[in-house]
Amino acid sequence: MTAARAAGSVGSAGSAGSAETAGAAGGGARAPRRRPDLGKWFTWAALAWLFAPIAGMVVFSFNDIQGRQNVTWQGFTLKWYGQAFAYADLNQALLNTLALGVLTMLIAGTIGSLLGLALGRHRFRGRGTTNLVMFAAIAAPEVVLGAALLSLFLTVNVTTGFTTTLIAHVMFTLSFVAITVRARVLTLDPALEEAARDLGAGPWETFRLVTFPLLLPAIMAGGLLALALSVDDFIITTFVSGDTTTFPLWIWGATRVGIPPQVNVMGALIFGLGVLLAACNVLLARRRR
């Protein structure tokens, strides 16, 4: 998933009809196009499909409506951005989602990175089982994870709420972080660490000064993935959140009475934040290159 990998060079561009393929590094002269590039149109059409509901959401955040039914276009206004925080319970839901996302990013990012480092670097007893359990945790349907955790909390009489939701989010995101970091560990050049040791660095110094900086892009990508999965999650959260409401849960509850434009505003703001984070990650990866 690391965007940095994606920038790798394409290799030799030789086959006929690859006039579009400009080498990633060189960007040499392009041959004139011989026929319309259907693949390009197709890809952009599919991307348009992906972004259509988001565009709809953003457009309707500027809709000048009366009441709560935000369905038909009434005219342009910016007032909802001024009144973005008019619903106290919606604000609380948003705060819960952000707090859950950041805490999940930190906890799952740390635990998952350690797991990924161990799996990529070391041979140890239980390595195969660990891989299998992580695989099952990723492959298991969300509804099963949510239902199973709820069964556990019911059995041991734990009241569900913010903490149980955080536990669930860390549980289902940490395997994603671990495999992202592991993939990076496997491609590290061992000569770099050897060189550090030859120059007199101890194991801890080698890790801090050489290994960790090399892994940082993958750790950040994994953390970002955990954040995105946590902010987006609805199914697992419905089972284990108890009285705690998150942003998706609040929206779900509001569908019956009509979704106020404030939801669109907040969705647009979170989306903007995601764009910003992603852009930072790309710039950082590019600088490290």
Binding site: S12, A16, A52, P203
Partner: protein, 288 residues
Amino acid sequence: MPGPSGTSRAPYLLVLPGWIWLAIFFVLPICGMLSVSLMTGNVIDGFGFTGAVGNYAEALGGYWEQILRSLLYGLCATVLCIAVGYPMAYWIAFRGGAHKATYLLLLLLPFFVAQVLRAISWKFILADNGVVLGPLKALGILGPDAHVLSTATAVVCGLAYNFLPFMVLPIYAVLERVDHSVVEAARDLFASRTQAFLRVVLPLSLPGVFAGVLMVFVPTSSDYVNAAVLGGTHNTMIGNVIRTQYLVNNAYPTAAAITFVLMAALLLGIFGYARALGTEQVMEVQAR
């Protein structure tokens, strides 16, 4: 915290937090659910373990229709994802040039808008007199009764929409590593472009397709958001049933039995699938 290398205890210290978390909050609950599924009782008097298998009979007998429908919708959504996702992954990997990273990022960005919000946004866009159907009806292209919502098509398209990136990314990861000289060699040996694709590129990309199928089929066949928002009352899936039994009816043993049946069906399939292909390989592809 110790360094990454050195003593032989190091790997165990590294994996310990992850092990504990996954053991307590993943492995244990799954086992616990098995025990709950064998209980009888009700939410007021409490549930007791009786080893009753009647819950399973109820799960299979009462909800086989939803189970089959879920598998069918999941299959249709997965096929649709391959049909849209493979050409996309192919184009980005081979023709994306210097902008590959940007295209991949564009694929992931929609995830920052909650799935529920995107589903509801679709509901507005596709509403019977909404921005798409309204003008088409006004122009007489569609009849006044034409609708998209509350149909199986809407649910399948919604599912495919949600999980398309999970198909594109693994296929892309594999295609990106295909050595172009192999394709050139095929062309030099007088393979047509179609032949070069079918006999060289396609077989090399199959692990990515397999990983993508796994990443799409499991969540689509157990989803309930799209069925609830886009599907109306005649298209409920097994996820809707589990949710209702757990959170509305509080019928935990029955719900656990249904969940267990769903999980067993999917996990058996997954492990058979992974065994045939190699777990490591499928997971490697996911990681990229």
